[in-house]
């Protein structure tokens, strides 16, 4: 479930005007920006951008980029974009940067629906004049590349039909690879990157039934190389996105020197989807609410914005 709260009636024109006022003159009224944008869904944010452009002949996003700073600016920038555009930008940053950002690409490839992934790839074409596949492929090598490119290129069947005996045989293939009995990465890549999510979850279930431990448990512990790490992330993302995101948030918060990038990414991309479920999981796992943890670990307008997206009323 989503966490953001949205008023019953909103006027894009009024919002645009109020945002303009917040940016005019000395300094910026960040509270206004948070209280408006933090309570608008994707459709409304798009309408506000359009209204702002029509009235002031200026791109609201560019205006906000110049008025705001630091983590707050990054968060607002990502929040105000169209989801497909946002994914394209996140993917681009990740594809160009150090290894540690491959999580983002795997998240986008495995957690978005097939149509959302497609929209992200189109947005990527438009923005960067390249395909996401070619950029990911040209910066990676070996089995890691094969897995990543395959995950990004796939257009999975999105129905519920499942072949039970296939689930059994493919669970076996995965098991053999995990136990180190076989180094056939091709088959594992094939299964993970082409089967439908329903089929894969059936496969993961058979794995658990047959071997006692879930496949994610079997894969945990220090991954030997970037391929194994990517495999692990992909499986977690397909099996349970919410659990995966809870873990990302937990690690980001517990890390010495908080990982704001990760926190922003998770909260901004899930606030309209399943952040409530992620919050609940976080509370169960950490005996403290996510809002409390974020309050302690972040500050200023950035903190207030995050808490707004988390659905906090009393600020």
């Amino acid at each position: 479930m989503a966490t953001i709260t949205v008023p019953d009636h909103t006027s894009p024109v009024e919002d645009a005007e109020n945002l303009r006022k917040a940016c005019e003159g000395w300094g910026t009224n960040e509270n206004t920006i948070v209280s408006i944008l933090g309570h608008r869904n994707a459709v409304q944010r798009k309408q506000i951008r359009q209204a702002y452009e029509e009235i002031y002949q200026e791109d609201l996003i560019k205006r906000l980029e110049s008025e705001l700073k630091g983590e707050f600016e990054k968060a607002v920038y990502r929040w105000i974009l169209d989801p497909a555009d946002r994914d394209a930008i996140l993917a681009h940053v990740a594809a160009r940067n150090a290894k540690s950002d491959n999580r983002t690409i795997i998240e986008i490839a495995c957690i978005r629906s097939p149509e959302e992934l497609l929209a992200a790839k189109r947005a990527y074409h438009f923005r960067y004049k390249h395909s996401l596949e070619e950029d990911v492929a040209s910066r990676t090598t070996g089995d890691f590349r094969k897995l990543l490119v395959a995950l990004v290129s796939t257009y999975r069947y999105d129905g519920d039909e499942v072949d039970v005996s296939l689930a059994g045989s493919e669970a076996k293939i995965l098991h053999n690879m995990i136990e180190g009995k076989s180094f056939n990465h091709e088959e594992v890549i094939r299964i993970l990157s082409t089967r439908s999510k329903a089929q894969l979850n059936a496969t993961f279930n058979r794995y658990k039934d047959t071997h006692g431990a879930s496949i994610t448990k079997s894969l945990s512990g220090n991954p030997a190389d970037e391929f194994s790490e990517a495999l692990c992330i992909a499986i977690q993302c397909i099996r349970s996105p919410q659990k995966y995101f809870e873990k990302v948030l937990r690690n980001a918060i517990n890390k010495v020197g908080t990982d704001e990038d990760a926190i922003t990414r998770v909260i901004v991309t899930r606030a309209e989807k399943d952040l409530k479920d992620i919050k609940d999981l976080y509370h169960k796992r950490n005996n403290a609410s996510l809002e409390h943890a974020i309050s302690k670990d972040t500050s200023g307008d950035y903190k207030i914005f995050l808490l707004t997206l988390l659905g906090c009323e009393e600020l």
């Binding site: 497609l118 790839k121 074409h125 004049k129 390249h130 395909s131 596949e133 070619e134 492929a137 040209s138 090598t141 070996g142 590349r145 094969k146 490119v149 395959a150 290129s153 796939t154 257009y155 999975r156 069947y157 999105d158 129905g159 039909e161 091709e186 094939r190 990157s193 082409t194 089967r195 439908s196």
Partner: protein, 311 residues
């Protein structure tokens, strides 16, 4: 007794490419029993004397005729299908028969959105994604290339990075000349060919020619998936014209003949004009004329109508 002209017409109607329905109606339809009997006795290639004293129709020839009668119907159905459904069904059949060249053709000559549409239709028709079926069915060295090709969603804009194209041409050249390893098993080759935009790849192939003096087609193994891939991407019209020429040759086998329907139906609204011009250039005779000479009946008329749309 039958007139010689009639016999010729019927022979042609019974052995060609498609069936001459009109001759069958006007000649065969009018013959009384004695005439039909003497036709059966006079044509051992279609009928033979059975020991129980009747002229028996050769079974393979009946099967052949059924096939030929179906050509018009198949062409009509293929034409009427939504292009996405058409490509999805063609791909499914190609995969089942191991006709990887047809898979390559669909993946490489359609636009990014057309290929995407075919993948959608495939979901609906077969409850699987095309990539999972290709990955599962293809177990030889072609797998990586084919899966990547059917999954591709290429950038289609005009921007090309010339430096990268030149570097990638060098990579391609080294990989193809390398005697140790087949180019299709080279990851870099597959990466370049299956992810880069078509415009970028055309630049790569041009640099390749500059660097090595030969074209990729000349250097690659003929009939290999990689060779088809590069042909389809660099010049669809040349590729299609070649296929049509094979289909219209006297020695064409069934697979080649089916290509005639497939190419004309799938290209009638795309590259048909360029293909006709290229065919004329390569063979000195117009495509329409060759179709007129080689095929029969409604099938022929249907093909000619589709080809003429390009004019």
């Amino acid at each position: 007794m039958a007139l010689p002209g009639d016999l010729d017409a019927l022979t042609k109607a019974f052995s060609g490419f498609g069936v001459d329905e009109n001759s069958i109606i006007s000649i065969l339809g009018k013959w009384h029993p004695e005439q039909r009997k003497s036709f059966r006795k006079g044509f051992p290639q279609f009928f033979r004397e059975d020991k129980r004293l009747f002229e028996r129709w050769d079974e393979r020839h009946i099967a052949f005729l059924e096939h030929e009668f179906l050509r018009f119907k198949n062409a009509m159905v293929l034409w009427t299908l939504h292009p996405w459904e058409r490509d999805a069904r063609l791909a499914k059949e190609a995969l089942a028969k191991g006709d990887y060249d047809i898979l390559v053709e669909i993946a490489c000559t359609r636009s990014s959105e057309e290929l995407l549409g075919a993948r959608r239709a495939y979901h609906s028709l077969f409850d699987h994604s095309i990539e999972e079926d290709v990955a599962y069915s293809v177990n030889d060295s072609n797998r990586n290339l084919l899966v990547a090709l059917v999954s591709s969603y290429r950038y289609e804009g005009a921007r090309v990075n010339e430096e990268i194209a030149e570097t990638e041409a060098k990579t391609l050249s080294e990989a193809i000349k390398n005697a140790e390893k087949r180019p299709i098993e080279n990851e870099e080759v597959v990466r370049i060919i299956t992810t880069r935009s078509k415009l970028h790849l055309k630049a790569v192939f041009n640099y390749y020619k500059e660097i090595s003096g030969t074209t990729t087609e000349e250097d690659l193994e003929e009939g290999s998936s990689l060779s088809y891939t590069i042909q389809c991407i660099s010049s669809p019209k040349t590729y299609f014209s070649k296929i049509l020429a094979s289909a219209l040759k006297g020695s064409a086998d069934e697979k080649n003949k089916q290509a005639l329907t497939r190419v004309i139906v799938t290209q009638a609204d795309s590259y048909m004009k360029e293909i006709s011009e290229e065919y004329h250039k390569q063979h000195g005779v117009s495509l329409s004329q060759k179709i007129e000479e080689t095929t029969n009946g409604n099938y022929k008329d249907f093909l000619l109508t589709l080809v003429a749309r390009g004019d």
